[in-house]
C-alpha cells in the first residue's frame, strides 16, 4: 500500500489520539448508552458528560455553556441558524444579505427561502475573496432580517472582516450569522470580540469526529428550532444526543484551545513550504488573500489542466487533495467561489485545494510537490490548451 499523505484536512481532520481515547473510554464505560434526559443514574452519567463537553466547547469560542447547542454538524447548524431566524422574524421583513462565496449549506438554504418569497442580496468579493463592509452597509434595508457572512472560506482560505461587518449589523440591530466551520478550532474565534449572534461550527475541523457540531446563539436572538419535538437543548434542538460524538467534540475543543498557538505555527510552516514548492512551478496561480488567510489552506490553480485528473494521479501516489472542478464536484459547473474572485472557467476547473494538518510532515510536502510536478507535466503534455499556448 502506498504511504498516505493526507492534505485534505478541510474535508475532515484525523481524530486527535487523545480524542480517540476519550471516545473509546466512553464507549467502554458501563453507561455509555445513557440518554442525558433520562431521570435515573444512567441518564445522569450521560448528562454529566454532556455538560462537561458543552463547557469546553463554549470556552473555545468565549461563550456561556447555555448559549451553545450541539448539532449533527456544520450543515445542520447553518440550516438551523438561517431558517430559524428567517422564519422567526418574517413579520419584520424578508430580506437577507449574504456573500457570493458562502458555502453551499448557506446558499442552498437561502435558495430555498428565495423560492418561498424571501429576497436576497448577495455581495460580490474582490479578487482575494474579501467582502467590503461598506457593501454590507449599503445592502441593508429596512426589511433586512439577517446577515450571513462566513468567517473563513473553505475553498480559498480568505478570512472575512467580521468585526467591521458586525459593527454595522449591531448598529442596525440585525442578527449576524457566521459560518465559522472552517475556522473554529483552527484560529481564534471569539463570539464577543467578533460581535457574532449565531455561529456555526463543526468538530471534524479540529481533531474531533465527523457528524457532530455546534451552534452558538446569542441570548435574545429570535430563532425557531430546526428539529422540533424534543425538549433537548432547552427545547431548542430536539433529538437524542450523539453522546460519543459530543464527548469527542468536547475533548477536541479543549485540546484545540490549549494547543492553538503551536498548531497555527506548525500549520503555517507547512503551508509556507507548500507555497514555496508551488511557486517554483510554472503557471500556477495562488488564490485567496496573502495574509488574511487560514494557516493550513492553499488554493492553487494549475493552468491548462483539469482538477480531477490531477487529484486522481496524485491519489495513485498516496497524496490526497481536493478540487472543485465541475467533474469532481458533480455539479458540472465551476466553483462559484472561484468565479466570484474573477477566475475564468478554465482556470477554475484546474484549481486544487491543499489543507495541511497536524499529522503532516515537511517530507510530505516535498513528496507532494514532486508528485505534482510529474503529474502536471504529464497532463499538460496532452492538453490542447497547453499545446496551443506553447505554439503562440
Amino acid at each position: 500500500m502506498k504511504y498516505t499523505i493526507y492534505l485534505d484536512n478541510v474535508a475532515a481532520t484525523p481524530l486527535h489520539p487523545e480524542v480517540k481515547n476519550v471516545m473509546i473510554d466512553y464507549l467502554n464505560s458501563e453507561f455509555s448508552f445513557g440518554n442525558p434526559v433520562s431521570q435515573h443514574h444512567v441518564g445522569d452519567y450521560a448528562a454529566e458528560a454532556l455538560e462537561k463537553a458543552r463547557a469546553e466547547v463554549a470556552r473555545l469560542i468565549n461563550a456561556h455553556p447555555q448559549e451553545v447547542l450541539f448539532t449533527s454538524g456544520g450543515t445542520e447548524s447553518i440550516n438551523h441558524a438561517v431558517k430559524g431566524v428567517a422564519f422567526a422574524r418574517r413579520d419584520r421583513g424578508k430580506h437577507i444579505v449574504t456573500s457570493n462565496v458562502e458555502h453551499n449549506a448557506v446558499l442552498g438554504t437561502l435558495r430555498m427561502l428565495r423560492a418561498r418569497g424571501y429576497q436576497l442580496t448577495s455581495l460580490p468579493v474582490d479578487h482575494h475573496g474579501m467582502v467590503d463592509p461598506g457593501d454590507v452597509k449599503k445592502a441593508i434595508r429596512d426589511d433586512t432580517i439577517l446577515v450571513s457572512i462566513m468567517h473563513a472560506n473553505s475553498e480559498i482560505g480568505t478570512i472575512e472582516p467580521i468585526r467591521d461587518i458586525t459593527k454595522i449589523t449591531r448598529e442596525r440591530n440585525i442578527p449576524f450569522h457566521c459560518d465559522a466551520v472552517a475556522s473554529t478550532g483552527v484560529i481564534p474565534v471569539d463570539v464577543e470580540d467578533l460581535g457574532i449572534d449565531l455561529l456555526s461550527f463543526s468538530a471534524n475541523q479540529y481533531g474531533g469526529p465527523s457528524g457532530v457540531g455546534g451552534l452558538y446563539v446569542r441570548p435574545k436572538t429570535q430563532i425557531i428550532p430546526l428539529l422540533h419535538g424534543g425538549s433537548q437543548e432547552s427545547n431548542r434542538r430536539g433529538g437524542t444526543h450523539n453522546m460519543v460524538g459530543i464527548v469527542g467534540m468536547g475533548k477536541a475543543a479543549e485540546l484545540a484551545r490549549e494547543e492553538m498557538p503551536e498548531r497555527i505555527e506548525h500549520l503555517h510552516t507547512l503551508k509556507q513550504a507548500l507555497l514555496n514548492g508551488l511557486q517554483s512551478m510554472e503557471e500556477i496561480l495562488i488564490n485567496g488573500h496573502p495574509t488574511e488567510s487560514l494557516p493550513h489552506l492553499v488554493s492553487a490553480s494549475v493552468k491548462y489542466v483539469e482538477g480531477e485528473s490531477i487529484t486522481l494521479m496524485l491519489d495513485q501516489e498516496g497524496v490526497c487533495i481536493s478540487t472543485r472542478s465541475a467533474c469532481a464536484s458533480g455539479s458540472l459547473r465551476a466553483s462559484h467561489v472561484l468565479l466570484s474572485i474573477g477566475l475564468d472557467h478554465a482556470t477554475a476547473q484546474g484549481t486544487l485545494i491543499f489543507t495541511v494538518g497536524m499529522a503532516t510532515t515537511p517530507h510530505d510536502i516535498t513528496r507532494s510537490i514532486e508528485v505534482l510536478e510529474k503529474t502536471v507535466a504529464f497532463l499538460r503534455n496532452m492538453s490542447p490548451l497547453y499545446r496551443r499556448k506553447a505554439a503562440n
Binding site: R333, A346, M382
Partner: protein
C-alpha cells in the same frame, strides 16, 4: 471508483498528440464545462491510418480519448462512424454514472474529425476551429446539462431526457 481498464488508459494513454497536416480535425467541448477534446486523423484508402488526441478533462475524459483513438485506428471510416459513446464506455468496462457525460465527447470528436475529412475532400472550405472560450450559458436558468434544455425552477429531473442531474443556477 474507476475500473482498472480506465486507470490503465488514464496512466498510459495511447495516441497523445496532434497530427501534422491532418486530413480531418474534430474538436468538442470547451474549458467552461471542464472537458475539451481535439482529435486529428490521417486517412489512407478510406481507413484511419493514424489518429491522435489532445484532452483537457478529468480522468474519465482522458481514458475515453485514449480508448476511442485505439478503437478507431486502422478501421474504415464507415466502421469508425459506428463507434458510439456507449461502445467506448463498454470497452472501458464501464464508467461511474456521474462520469458518463465525460464519455460523450470521445465518439463525438472522432465523428467530427471524419466529417471534417469528408468536407475537405468535397472541397468545402475548412471548418473553422471552434473558438476556445465560447460564451457559455447566461447564468440565469436551470438547465439539463445533457440535452441543454431549460427546465422549470427546482425541477428534480429533465422532462426531455429523464436524467436527474439538473443545474440550478440563479444569480445571487
Amino acid at each position: 471508483m474507476y475500473s482498472e481498464k480506465v486507470l490503465d488508459h488514464f496512466n498510459n494513454p495511447r495516441n497523445i498528440g496532434k497530427i501534422e497536416n491532418p486530413d480531418g480535425v474534430g474538436e468538442v467541448g470547451n474549458p467552461v464545462c471542464g472537458d475539451m477534446m481535439t482529435i486529428t486523423v490521417k486517412v489512407k484508402d478510406d481507413r484511419i491510418d493514424d489518429i491522435k488526441f489532445e484532452t483537457f478533462g478529468c480522468g474519465a475524459a482522458i481514458a475515453v480519448s485514449s480508448m476511442v483513438t485505439e478503437m478507431a485506428k486502422g478501421k474504415t471510416l464507415d466502421e469508425a462512424m459506428q463507434i458510439t459513446n456507449e461502445s467506448v464506455a463498454e470497452a472501458l468496462e464501464g464508467l461511474p454514472k456521474n462520469k458518463l457525460h465525460c464519455s460523450n465527447l470521445g465518439a463525438d470528436a472522432l465523428h467530427k474529425a471524419i466529417m471534417d475529412y469528408y468536407s475537405r475532400k468535397e472541397g468545402k472550405p475548412r471548418l473553422q476551429e471552434e473558438k476556445l472560450e465560447h460564451l457559455g450559458r447566461p447564468d440565469e436558468h436551470c438547465y439539463c446539462p445533457y440535452c441543454d434544455l431549460d427546465v422549470p425552477d427546482e425541477a428534480p429531473y429533465c422532462s426531455n431526457c429523464g436524467k436527474p442531474t439538473i443545474i440550478h443556477d440563479h444569480p445571487h
